[in-house]
């Protein structure tokens, strides 16, 4: 599988994503957005960063770039797409998933490890886990608060499209374990197809053994990125 890791002006997790994918034996390459998706792209990662300086709203500019139309078309054909952090913001702004990621409840940039409960283990991004399993990934964002109308959230839940929720170490979804005020503690959601997912936490920062360490990020991100190593 050849995975395209998109790079916009201001992307800064593109090389991390590439390193993590290569560690898993995935054939991946960084693709400058103006060059468009390469022929035969079989997976797409929209990485984190601060594309276009977060002007207007995080992800707003990149979401309207021509390459995102190509990404939406590929997603419609079943190509797996993963948006991480700024990539999640871009994914929401471009309509790959419903809702929006906006200013954290704290109004601060937050960089910390969080616990996530796997809400749906029947997706390429969570197949490595069990439903209800608690995993740990790092977050690093200022605009990660998931906002959506109550009706739209209920529809997402009814369709089993909530992928992860912020939780405590025991897997209980609490307000205290919600780092950014996301509605329903939602940390990641699926697109209309289960092959499209966006999440604010960073699986690519919790994949390489070199950074896993006893006090590090662990390697739970491996299970998420395994979507691309089939």
């Amino acid at each position: 599988m050849t995975v395209a890791v998109l790079r916009f002006g201001g992307s800064n997790c593109d090389r991390d994503a590439l390193a993590a994918l290569e560690h898993l034996g995935v054939d991946a390459e960084i693709v400058w957005h103006e060059d468009g998706l390469p022929e035969g792209t079989e997976g797409i990662v929209v990485p984190g960063g601060f594309s276009y300086g977060d002007y207007l709203r995080a992800g707003a500019m990149a979401a309207r770039s021509p390459v995102m139309a190509e990404v939406r078309a590929a997603a419609d054909e079943g190509v797996p797409v993963l948006g991480v952090c700024n990539g999640a913001q871009i994914g929401a702004e471009s309509g790959l998933v419903p809702g929006a990621f906006t200013t954290n409840r704290s109004a601060r940039f937050q960089c910390e490890h969080v616990h996530l409960r796997v809400e749906n283990a029947d997706t390429p991004f969570t197949r490595a886990f069990g439903e209800g399993e608690v995993i740990s990934l790092p977050i690093a964002h200022g605009e990660g608060r998931f906002e959506i109308t109550d009706d739209a959230l209920a529809a997402l839940e009814a369709d089993d499209r909530v992928l992860f929720r912020y939780c405590d170490a025991d897997g209980t979804v609490t307000d205290a374990a919600n780092p950014n005020g996301s509605k329903g503690n939602v940390a990641g959601v699926l697109g209309e197809r289960g092959t499209v997912a966006v999440l604010m936490p960073h699986p690519e920062r919790a994949t390489l053994p070199d950074v896993a360490g006893p006090n590090g990020a662990g390697t739970d991100g491996t299970g998420v990125l395994a979507a691309f190593s089939q």
Partner: protein, 85 residues
């Protein structure tokens, strides 16, 4: 064609948390000001040429729909005036 200035005001929908506005309010209160509430909004002033004011407003509304506002969290309003000469 006439020169107009379309003013697009984008604000959070009622009920959507605005942490930056809350922080700003707290800072004003620390400075000793008394206030009940504070809301923030983004304002875009767009100079454009259009056949009439309705056409100018229509184009500005499309700009708001497609980029300036995010319908999930924002409401917006458009006002059009003849451009200052």
């Amino acid at each position: 064609m006439t020169a107009y200035t379309a003013t697009v005001t984008v604000r959070l929908k009622h009920g959507v948390l605005d942490p930056e506005a809350e922080t700003t309010q707290q800072a004003l209160e620390r400075l000793g000001f008394e206030l009940e509430d504070l809301r923030s909004a983004d304002r875009f002033e767009i100079d454009l040429e259009a056949a009439d004011a309705d056409a100018a407003a229509e184009r500005a509304e499309e700009m708001a729909e497609r980029l300036l506002a995010n319908p999930t969290i924002h409401d917006y309003e458009v006002e059009v005036a003849a451009a200052a000469t």
